[in-house]
């Protein structure tokens, strides 16, 4: 039994309270907490890589009475990469908010959200996952509401109402699972659940609730305005990291609690939704005039890629979904941060205002380009590895139509990415007078883009973690 899973949760929490007590000068606390948390996740990942799944019984009570923390390969990988993305994104928040109450509230909420995210990634208890999801929701809403305009408040409210509706479905499903198996442990419930109306209904409710929270087609209409009207650091965090939480829960629960229940028919329905998300949302992204809205719709398409793992169903497909999650986390955070920097410089995020960016802000342009290449799924980024895994998994399992969907999605993504990059590359005549883009934001977005490159260039270590999993096989 190892203590590291609990440390990944405790350190950000302690940091959050310390930053709250310190008040205005909390940036130092934030940096220290970020470094410590990332360090702990790396140590944990190394341990998982060496020894396999790591276990921690909170309070000394094991399942079914208590709550267990279990970290397998995929969870460790998510902890590390999402942690790095979180840490880097928050650094740009320091540039975005001037020193004051908004910044210190951001820091405290961000650290609490990180604690909730880590708790979600390590937990093996169905109700604990619910509480972690709610914590992430409430802190996300808080982060969105720190935006400057009335639209941010509206976006935050809409996000909140949708999220609690989703949790309602999830909770009802958990009630059914507990009623059937008298346990809340994810793996133990999987052993005890038998095929029948109760388990099918429970899965339907859980999947519906979590798909709503993820923004899977057709329940996606709420997401773009929520991301686009949030302040840029919050949008980067949401689309990159926190927005993946519901999918991760579904991923874990499908693998461990409901493997027997998942027939071909419901899985294919999810696949149709995922395919529609990929194609339809990518097409909608083509029509956008605002860069932030374009990225938001593109994130919806990426969510579709992740959900494709459910109909395909093989371990390779799940690894592909995981790789989409981590590459997109880095890429979308990079793009949102870069967009935020551009917004500061020119005052808006309209695509028509982009000409001249390549001249004035080459670093930002480079980050946008790498992020865009990742969205397209081209080498040498992590997005390519992820799509390659998905295509191969689809072909190997005989469901070749999903491979076609993936490729079509990539083509449409190429269309809108090239449109953005071409606009940015066009020299603006005359050069409009703009403010300087904040340097810190530019550096952060570059680093984030570098992460997505790294995932593409040396995928062996992440992949070995992603393929190592406890729920499947001996």
């Amino acid at each position: 039994m190892s203590a590291w899973p609990a440390w990944t949760v405790v350190i950000p929490l302690v940091g959050a309270f310390a930053s709250w007590l310190v008040g205005r000068k909390s940036a130092f606390v934030a940096i220290a907490s970020a470094l410590a948390t990332v360090g702990v996740t790396v140590v944990l990942a190394l341990e998982v890589h060496a020894r396999g799944t790591v276990l921690h019984r909170v309070g000394g009570w094991g399942a079914p009475l208590g709550i267990e923390l279990r970290v397998d390969g995929p969870a460790a990988l998510l902890l590390v990469v999402l942690g790095i993305v979180t840490a880097l994104t928050s650094a740009s928040a320091v540039a975005h908010f001037p020193m004051g109450r908004r910044r210190s509230t951001f820091i405290t909420l961000w650290l609490i959200a990180w604690a909730g995210l880590n708790a979600l990634l390590v937990s093996a208890d169905l109700f604990n996952l619910y509480v972690a999801l709610e914590l992430i929701t409430l802190t996300s809403v808080g982060l969105i509401s720190l935006g400057p305009s009335r639209e941010s408040i509206r976006a935050a409210l809409q996000y909140l109402l949708v999220a609690i509706l989703g949790s309602l479905g999830y909770l009802l499903g958990v009630a059914l699972v507990y009623g059937e198996c008298a346990t809340l442990d994810v793996a133990l419930a999987g052993e005890r659940l038998a095929r029948g109306t109760v388990s099918s209904a429970a899965f339907a409710l859980v999947a519906a609730g979590l798909s709503l929270k993820s923004g899977l087609f057709p329940l996606h209409a709420w997401l773009p305005s929520a991301y686009a009207n949030a302040p840029s650091p919050a949008a980067a965090l949401l689309s990159g990291v926190l927005g993946k939480a519901a999918f991760v829960v579904l991923y874990r629960i499908t693998g461990e609690t409901f493997p027997l229940v998942l027939d071909a028919a419901p899985a294919q329905i999810v696949g149709v939704q995922a395919g529609a998300a990929i194609v339809w949302c990518s097409l909608l992204a083509l029509r956008q005039r605002r860069l932030k809205m374009l990225i938001a719709y593109s994130s919806l398409a990426q969510i579709g890629y992740m959900f494709l793992a459910i109909p395909i169903g093989t371990p390779l497909a799940r690894a592909g979904a995981l790789y989409i999650a981590i590459s997109h986390a880095a890429a979308s955070a990079a793009i949102f941060t870069a967009t935020g920097a551009l917004e500061r410089a020119s005052g808006n995020d309209s695509i028509d205002a982009l000409p001249g960016v390549a001249q004035r802000n080459p670093l930002t342009f480079f980050s946008l380009a790498i992020g865009g290449v990742n969205l397209m799924g081209l080498p040498p980024t992590g997005g390519f590895i992820a799509k390659w895994l998905l295509v191969r998994a689809a072909l190997e399992s005989g469901q070749w139509w999903w491979a076609v969907v993936v490729l079509v999605g990539g083509l449409i993504a190429a269309a809108y990415v090239f449109r953005v990059l071409r606009e940015a590359f066009v020299p603006a005549v005359p050069l409009p007078a703009t403010a300087d883009a904040p340097q810190l934001a530019e550096v952060v977005s570059l680093l984030l883009a570098a992460v997505s490159l790294l995932l593409g260039v040396s995928p062996s270590w992440p992949l070995s973690l992603a393929m190592q999993s406890l729920g499947e096989g001996p």
């Binding site: 509480v131 929701t137 305009s149 909140l160 609690i164 909770l171 209409a221």
Partner: protein
Amino acid sequence: MSQWILYAASAAATVAIAGVGAFVAVEPVRRLLSINIAYSGVFMAFVALARRTTSGEADPVPHALVLTGIVVSVSSTALALSLTRRLVRATERSGRDSSSSPDEREA
């Protein structure tokens, strides 16, 4: 019909009615009321299921879960009300101002 079955049926009806009410509601406060009632229905399901024991003494774990759930949902309610209030006030203020209000871009 034993006691837990009565309340389980009540829970199902409550969740259904409030769920429909939440989707149909136009104004945020009403939607919030229906969502809260729907959550109460889910909690009722938990507590009714806890009453199925042979001894008649209830299983305390679902009770603790419901307790946690009530507290979490009151936090969400308070947050939603605070946001709605800010939105209403901001809308009133921009309506009073002679300067243009931010255009509302819907997805």
